[in-house]
């Protein structure tokens, strides 16, 4: 149909390629933390008692709360992606906002947790830590390094999701004028992408020539969706790493 041939959907973007690139990047992130996990396992096997004792002083309640918060945010980011796929921008906006709020809540908890540690004199190179057994110093060294770098990733993730939220919420509908076209081809009202085709101009459709106005969420549908999915993948990575940090630091006591 000539209406579709005239539609501006000539994207050369390779979304599969983008996803491959994202997955490869996630590999590198896992290897980044891999170095820390390596140090953790070596030092844990060297100082099992010290690690055991030091871990009992971490606040399991806050850790559990943060785990639940992050897991929930992973759910909401998936819902946001699904909503966008169904072209429901409002729901997508809400779900993204919830995800970002959850991330912020995680950071607030983290802040209080670290603050408490600093208050009782537990911070890198503190007198209190150096007074304790070497394994405890290493445990807290790893604790700050691992949760610190993880928190950095949470912040980056929040930045990425905020940009995505802005894009989804603010990008205006794209309006493209096509035509003039022959009126006998105006059978299409809504195409598969959910784009709405309306006619503009004075005349009725019955008239010979009208101008078509193409209103669509084109950018949202293709590119934005791919970007949001990749941002979601990154957010899942943040979540998955926390799922490993939580038992290693808080639960094995």
């Amino acid at each position: 149909m000539s209406v579709q041939a005239a539609s501006p959907a000539t994207h050369h973007k390779d979304h599969t390629g983008a996803r491959i690139g994202m997955w490869l990047f996630l590999f590198t992130e896992i290897l980044l933390f891999g170095g820390l996990f390596l140090l953790y396992s070596v030092y844990r096997s060297t100082f099992p008692e010290d690690f055991h004792y030091a871990a009992t002083h971490l606040d399991t309640l806050v850790g559990t709360a943060n785990t639940l918060i992050l897991l929930t945010s992973s759910l909401t980011v998936v819902l946001a992606i699904a909503a966008l796929r169904r072209n429901n921008r409002k729901l997508c906006t809400i779900m993204l906002s919830v995800t970002i709020l959850a991330g912020l809540l995680f950071m607030v908890n983290k802040y209080f947790e670290w603050h408490h540690k600093f208050d009782i004199g537990l911070y890198p190179n503190s007198k209190e830590l150096l007074r304790r057994a070497p394994g405890e110093n290493l445990f807290y060294g790893l604790y700050f390094a691992m949760t610190g770098i993880h928190a950095l990733h949470v912040i980056i993730g929040l930045g990425v999701l905020s940009v995505m939220l802005w894009i989804v919420a603010h990008k205006p509908k794209k309006t493209i004028t096509v035509g003039p076209l022959q009126s006998d081809r105006l059978s299409l009202v809504e195409d598969q992408r959910g784009a709405v085709w309306t006619h503009e101009g004075e005349g009725e459709i019955a008239e010979a020539v009208v101008t078509l106005v193409y209103k669509s969420n084109e950018e949202i549908n293709d590119d934005t969706w791919s970007k949001l999915e990749n941002s979601g993948l990154y957010w899942h990575l943040v979540d998955v790493i926390w799922i490993f940090l939580f038992p290693l630091l808080y639960l094995i006591t």
Partner: protein, 542 residues
């Protein structure tokens, strides 16, 4: 050759920006390749000057031109600049960027903007690393390996230098991701994996190492920064930490990095040999797979840098065995190259001359590598000039010569001009003689027990030091002649045909220099990369 039907070349194409902005903001993979080339060769020049200064210092025992502190900074910076700024990113970033899309019949890499960002990140990392020379406590003096505990205690600018290396790692990772995605997604119709040129295969293997190894260096360097600024104590024995773990983490990256450096060089050699032997490559699949094998086994041999660091005998034994395994895929390559030459119609032109030099020098480097890989001999030569000699034979004699060969091979394609071959021959004579005068004495000195990185030495090493220092002057003279010859080609502007060497890979089917989107029409591939085109005359494609 330019005729009226040719499309506008990428050099003349007028994009959104003019002048220098048209280069530093261009997402064209060819322009980015040239950007990398200019920046890298500049850094290489700085590294050469630092090396020259070191050699002059070693000309006489005792102080010659610099103090011991400065000497320590000299070898640290020479290593940092040559390794992180030149030889690790070198071939992939320059020739990989330029020729990967051309060789697989693509218009560009998968993520052109990310590609440009990689260059900017590279420049940022370089700027940070070089800033460490001039501010604060002065240039770092730890050696390029940043071994703890000294790197934590040194009053020099280690933090800034390490940050620079960390940023450079990002650039490396992003380039790796870009290349893998490009190879998987953008091959021309008919370009199956087994029809890819061997240079692409090595870029593919290299990209995987870049992705899998660089993050480990990133976290290690971050921890060094944390040690220096926060005092976590993870590597400090006084606080319970273990400095050996630093060495493990460092070499888990830095040994595979050695293969990041050499694999693309082997790829270049695999391109040049069939072209100048006028033959299909012998053992295509064996060479292709040996690249992946080197990448894989190379990931598991880092412990051989730590034979004298105090690791268990079992670990030393296993690492030594794995190290010897790397010799198998490397040998596969060398034998297949030589077999390609057998009964070939050899055309001894400059790119091929440097390729043969590569094989010769790299073989010496490889064989001395077996000496350092064997436990018994390594304990004797560890941390001596033998290792320095071995490393330079592999890296300069290997990757460096491959870099020069690649420059000569692809120069006509990149700029559409030919250079003066006679002067390249002359430069080669200087380079070859100077190289061996400079590095072979190091092997002898090391064997006699001269430790590396020493500022002063006993008189019995004086003669060999004089030979090496004079050799460095000869070598630099050769490099200068080489550079001037290439520069002069811009002045004489002898136009290059689209296929001056009779190459059979796709980059020779387009114009020299190529148009913005590489091909006027995306090619369809129907044969292996080095098979002759099925023309009635049996000649090469032109």
């Amino acid at each position: 050759m330019s005729n009226t039907a040719d499309p506008v070349s990428y050099l003349d194409y007028q994009g959104r920006h003019k002048g220098i902005l048209g280069w530093i903001l261009s997402t064209d993979h060819k322009r980015i390749g040239i950007l990398y080339m200019i920046s890298m060769l500049s850094f290489f020049g700085v590294g050469v000057i630092l090396g020259l200064l070191m050699r002059i210092e070693l000309l006489m025992p005792g102080m010659t031109i610099v103090t011991p502190r400065v000497y320590n900074s000299l070898f640290t910076l020479h290593g940092m600049i040559m390794i992180f700024l030149f030889i690790i990113p070198g071939l992939p970033a320059v020739f990989g960027n330029f020729f990967l899309p051309l060789q697989i019949g693509a218009e560009d890499v998968a993520f052109p903007r990310l590609n440009l960002a990689s260059w900017w990140i590279y420049m940022l990392g370089a700027a940070v690393a070089l800033t460490s020379l001039f501010v604060g406590g002065g240039a770092p003096d730890t050696g390029w390996t940043f071994y703890v505990p000294y790197s934590v205690r040194s009053g020099t600018n280690v933090t800034l230098a390490v940050t620079g290396a960390f940023i450079l790692g990002f650039s490396s990772i992003l380039t790796g991701i870009n290349f893998i995605t490009t190879i998987h997604r953008l091959r021309a119709p008919g370009m199956s994996f087994t029809r890819m040129p061997l240079f692409v295969w090595t870029l593919y293997s290299t990209a995987w190492i870049q992705i899998l190894a660089t993050p480990v260096l990133a976290i290690t360097l971050l921890l060094v920064i944390a040690e220096r600024t926060l005092g976590l104590g993870l590597f400090d024995p006084a606080k319970g930490g273990d400095p050996i773990l630093y060495q493990h983490l460092f070499w888990i990256y830095s040994h595979p990095a050695v293969y990041i450096m050499i694999l693309p060089g082997m790829g270049v050699v695999s391109e040049i040999i069939p072209t100048f032997a006028r033959k299909d490559i012998f053992g295509y699949k064996a060479i292709a797979i040996s690249s992946l094998l080197i990448a894989f086994v190379g990931y598991l041999v880092w412990g051989h840098h730590m034979f004298t660091s105090g690791i268990s005998d079992t670990a030393r034994w296993i690492f030594s065995l794995l190290t010897f395994l790397v010799a198998i895929p490397s040998g596969i390559k060398i034998f297949n190259w030589v077999a390609t030459l057998y009964k070939g119609s050899i055309d001894l032109r400059p790119p091929f001359l440097f390729t043969l030099t590569f094989i010769f020098l790299f073989s010496i480097g490889g064989l001395t590598g077996l000496v350092t890989g064997a436990l018994a001999t390594d304990v004797h030569v560890h941390d001596t000039y033998f290792v320095v000699g071995h490393f330079h034979y592999v890296m300069f004699g290997g990757t460096g010569m491959a870099f020069l060969a690649a420059l000569l091979y692809w120069w006509p394609k990149m700029f559409g001009i030919m250079y003066n071959e006679k002067w390249i021959w002359r430069s080669w004579a200087f380079i070859f003689v100077g190289f061996n005068m400079l590095y072979f004495p190091m092997l002898i000195q090391g064997w006699m027990g001269h430790p590396r990185r020493y500022y002063d030495y006993v008189p019995r090493f004086h003669a060999t030091h004089i030979v090496a220092t004079v050799g460095s002057w000869v070598l630099v003279t050769g490099l200068l002649i080489f550079a001037i010859t290439l520069f002069r080609s811009f002045k004489s502007r002898v136009p290059a045909p689209s296929n001056p060497w009779g190459g059979r890979t796709l980059e020779w089917t387009t114009t020299s220099p190529p148009p913005l989107l590489n091909f006027t029409q995306i090619p369809t591939v129907t044969r292996g990369p080095y098979e002759p085109a099925p023309t009635p005359t049996g000649g090469e494609t032109s």
